[in-house]
């Protein structure tokens, strides 16, 4: 664990990609094999199943530290991270011990089978053997969420450097459902791809936001334009007589969407589609809010299946007749996609995402303006000769989103952020006018600079009217322009509406509170775009 803690510390102390890569490369060359494998697993989002609730962890940590639980709870938001709070609050380890990362992971995995009392004993004992940084990592193993500034790309590069395997090939091998328990370092890094994982997806190709004028992209004939859908991006994989569905977050979500169970009847094995999963009814997409309840559910109740049936609007073909065709030009992949999907029955739940047939930029721009009518977020522009690359490489694929909707609103509650933003007030609740009163309608966390958050934090402290735990009610005075992508009806919110991707577009220092927007204004947006 000391090796791994040292690696973590090195990664944490630099923002330079080159230094991070070399720290990782060194670790991948020198650490014990099982530790290397686990490091790859952890940095690619694989982790032991959570066996202890965070509530229990808090209680045990407070007890071990000899402080009341409420004091732990007060400290947590100030530190901003649970694993770190525990690591800091515990007394120094009584008996530091250097065991390998893999061994500690064994401890974490073993927790699941233990009786409650033994579980507690095992965790307390581990804390007693670990230095603060190791403890922090150990806690992260239990609580999950190993986000420590290591992008997939960076890790892939370091792995490629450490092993000599080509970077793109390495990226592919890191995909899929392998686990450190069923894979060896050699299997993962051998010269020949040794994977037998039929479900393995390809790394997703990502688009960049188009900030320049579309006309700067040159001849529109070089570009294919599609709607940018607001659903779940996924890869549908047909291999070996069965199908698998992966989300963009690399989660295997096959069982959540039984609609695709029949795809092997319609599509040949050796087919991989990239597309958008949308709740779909009567020839058009339903609001994202109706897809949402299906995302979290491992099994889908019948009612939900009838209310919000899904389908995939496929926009790319990555594997055809068992061959990886990602290097072919998009126009060719698209032609094969269309012929593959043509004539599929309605209940196949897969259809090609239509291409737009406008041939000049002004016409495309006009079409884009109508995106909201289709519950689309705008257009995708993809170069007709582009390969399907792994990750984000600027230039080939652009998202040309609609300008967001916006309203001016006043901040009424503020709460401190987490992690890097702990101790800063960054999480705000906003209200619009409703008659003579104010009605809260959304929260937002992002969009301002660090300097602005700093200034607002100082303001919040001076203008707190009341505290509700970590939440402060502030004088309704600061006005912000809230931008958002969509607006929907919502029974869960007092205002009756819910926004999609709300954020602070601007701090309107120029605008007095009595000039903010009204609930009626929001309702008319709802009527127009909901």
């Amino acid at each position: 664990m000391k090796d791994f803690a040292r690696l973590f510390t090195k990664l944490d102390q630099t923002t330079r990609t080159s230094e991070k890569t070399s720290a990782l490369t060194e670790f991948f060359r020198e650490a014990p094999e099982a530790d290397r494998l686990w490091a790859v697993a952890l940095f690619s989002g694989r982790r032991p199943k959570r066996a202890v609730t965070t509530t229990l962890l808090r209680e045990w940590a407070a007890e071990r530290a000899g402080i009341p639980l409420w004091l732990f709870e007060e400290s947590y938001p100030i530190v901003g991270d649970l694993a770190e709070t525990i690591a800091l609050i515990l007394p120094s380890p009584a008996a530091p011990e250097d065991r390998e990362l893999a061994e500690w992971i064994g401890v974490v995995k073993g927790l699941a089978e233990k009786e409650a009392e033994d579980r507690k004993h095992a965790v307390l004992e581990a804390w007693d053997h670990l230095e603060p940084t190791e403890r922090f990592l150990f806690n992260k193993l239990i609580t999950g969420g190993f986000r420590i500034g290591i992008s997939r790309k960076l890790m892939t590069r370091a792995l490629a450097e450490a092993t000599g395997v080509d970077e793109a090939a390495m990226a592919l091998r890191l995909m899929g459902k392998w686990q450190p328990e069923d894979t060896s370092w050699d299997q993962l890094t051998a010269e020949e791809d040794a994977s037998e994982d039929d479900s393995r997806p390809y790394p997703f190709c990502l688009a960049s936001p188009l900030e320049a004028e579309a006309a700067s992209l040159g001849d529109p004939a070089d570009w294919l334009a599609e709607w940018k859908w607001d659903g779940i991006r996924g890869q549908l994989i047909l291999r070996g007589g069965t199908h698998h569905l992966w989300s963009r977050g690399e989660e295997l979500i096959t069982d959540r969407f039984p609609e695709f169970a029949r795809t092997p009847d319609f599509l040949p094995p050796g087919t991989v589609l990239d597309g958008e999963i949308l709740a779909w009814k009567d020839g058009s997409p339903l609001p994202f809010a109706q897809l949402q309840p299906r995302i979290g559910r491992k099994t889908v109740p019948k009612k939900l299946l009838t209310e919000a049936p899904v389908r995939m609007l496929a926009y790319d073909l990555l594997e055809h007749e068992g061959a990886d065709i990602r290097a072919l030009p998009l126009s060719e992949r698209r032609a094969r996609l269309e012929s593959l999907l043509s004539g599929l029955p309605e209940d196949a739940a897969v259809m090609p995402s239509p291409l737009l047939d406008e041939t000049d930029w002004p016409a495309l721009a006009a079409r884009r303006e109508s995106a909201r009518e289709l519950r689309s977020e705008g257009l995708m522009l993809k170069h007709r000769d582009s390969a399907y690359r792994d990750g984000r490489k600027r230039g080939d694929w652009w998202k040309w989103k609609l300008d967001p909707l916006s309203v001016d609103a006043v901040m009424i509650y503020a709460q401190q952020g987490h992690g890097r933003r702990a101790n800063l007030f960054t999480d705000f609740t906003f209200a619009v006018k409703d008659g003579n009163g104010l009605v809260p309608f959304t929260k937002a966390y992002s969009g301002l600079t660090d300097a602005e958050f700093d200034e607002i934090t100082r303001w919040v402290k001076r203008n707190t009217q009341q505290r509700f735990g970590p939440v402060r009610q502030v004088t309704p005075e600061l006005v912000f322009e809230i931008a958002f992508e969509g607006i929907q009806e919502s029974a869960r919110h007092k205002s009756g509406i819910a926004l999609r991707f709300p954020r602070m577009a601007r701090w309107r220092r120029d605008k007095p509170v009595d000039e903010i927007d009204t609930l009626d204004g929001l309702k008319s947006l709802l009527a127009a775009y909901g």
């Binding site: 630099t14 004091l71 400290s75 770190e84 609050i89 890097r420 702990a422 660090d450 402290k461 001076r462």
Partner: protein
């Protein structure tokens, strides 16, 4: 009922019997100053009283005249007896003991218990009521011994030197800077100082409170003459053209706040060294216990949480709002003295 020994006013802590304020934040006729940091020693008061070292620093910073009063010597002011006692925060820093009619109150100012080898070590003072800072009044704040941090800083410096890089270490110019300099191993290389730090160095040297040699960074500074140095500067000097004259460099910051990863990341420094001139959680609790006081007034820091904890431990604890530490992280936000 008689006036309390000390009361909390909008200008600061006030002693009616002596008609003086302690570290007031608005101009007052007579002020007792615990130490020379700018949030405690403000300009504009009619008269100042402080320890000799603090007086020298205030004089340097504010250009005002300061009457001095050595540690431990009682002075009668009006109906009160007042004395200064070492607070261990920075050289010259004091707790203020105020006795009126047999009742003793102590204002801690800022303090730490660990002997830093530079400041006069903290002395516990028995009292009935203790007004204590609690900048780091949460159980997550615990410091390592100074020697361990010194080893970390020197190892960092050495590694940077081997890589041909300067080490830019950010620290508050009075107190923390001199403490860090005294922790550095002069064998490793040259120690350079920013003008703000050197100003404090000079004052403290003159009165015999500091004896380390440093090289002030002057406008005609020549990088080749001092390769891969240690540079001690206020953090505000980072990211400016001044900081670029040292060539390739690593930045570090020395503060109790560096204990928190979120703060380290927000500060964007490469290395955080957890070292503070304020008491950590165990030290706060010990200091309070050692006063024997039953009435505790936490101020400047996580006052509400800290007071609640003290009450659960059987003290009568009342949080006191202040303008220099109006809230838990005021010090961290303004970014220096901790």
């Amino acid at each position: 009922m008689a006036d309390p020994v000390l009361s909390f006013t909008e200008r600061g802590i006030y002693c009616p019997a002596a008609d003086v304020y302690i570290d007031p934040w608005r101009p007052v006729p007579r002020a007792l100053i615990t130490h020379a940091h700018s949030d405690h020693a403000r300009p504009g008061h009619g008269a100042y009283l402080a320890t000799p070292v603090t007086a020298a620093m205030i004089c340097h910073r504010l250009g005002v005249e300061v009457e001095t009063q050595p540690y431990g010597e009682p002075r009668r002011i009006g109906g009160a007896t007042i004395s200064f006692h070492p607070a261990g925060h920075v050289p010259g820093s004091a707790q203020v003991r105020v006795e009126v009619g047999g009742e003793v109150w102590v204002v801690s100012g800022d303090y730490k218990l660990e002997n830093d080898g530079l400041s006069e070590p903290f002395e516990p003072v028995r009292c009935h009521a203790f007004i204590t800072e609690c900048t780091f009044g949460l159980p997550v704040f615990r410091w390592q011994p100074q020697a361990e941090i010194a080893a970390e800083i020197n190892a960092w410096w050495r590694a940077n030197r081997e890589a041909g890089r300067a080490s830019l270490l950010g620290a508050y110019s009075l107190g923390k800077a001199q403490r860090l300099i005294s922790m550095l191993d002069p064998e490793i290389g040259p120690i350079l100082t920013h003008g703000a730090v050197e100003g404090s160095n000079a004052v403290l040297r003159e009165i015999g409170a500091f004896d380390r040699e440093t090289v002030p960074v002057t406008p005609d500074y020549d990088r080749k003459a001092h390769p891969a140095p240690m540079v001690i500067a206020p953090p505000s000097a980072f990211g400016t053209s001044w900081a670029r004259k040292f060539g390739p460099a690593q930045t570090g910051f020395a503060s109790g706040w560096m204990r928190l990863r979120g703060v380290r990341r927000r500060r964007g420094v490469q290395r955080g060294f957890v070292i503070s001139d304020h008491a950590d959680w165990p030290a706060l609790l010990r200091a309070i216990k050692d006063t024997g006081a039953e009435n505790i007034y936490p101020t400047h820091g996580y006052v509400d949480i800290f007071a609640q904890y003290l009450r659960s431990e059987g003290y009568a604890a009342t949080p006191v709002p202040t303008e220099f530490g109006g809230d838990e992280d005021a010090t961290e936000q303004s970014g220096d003295a901790a």
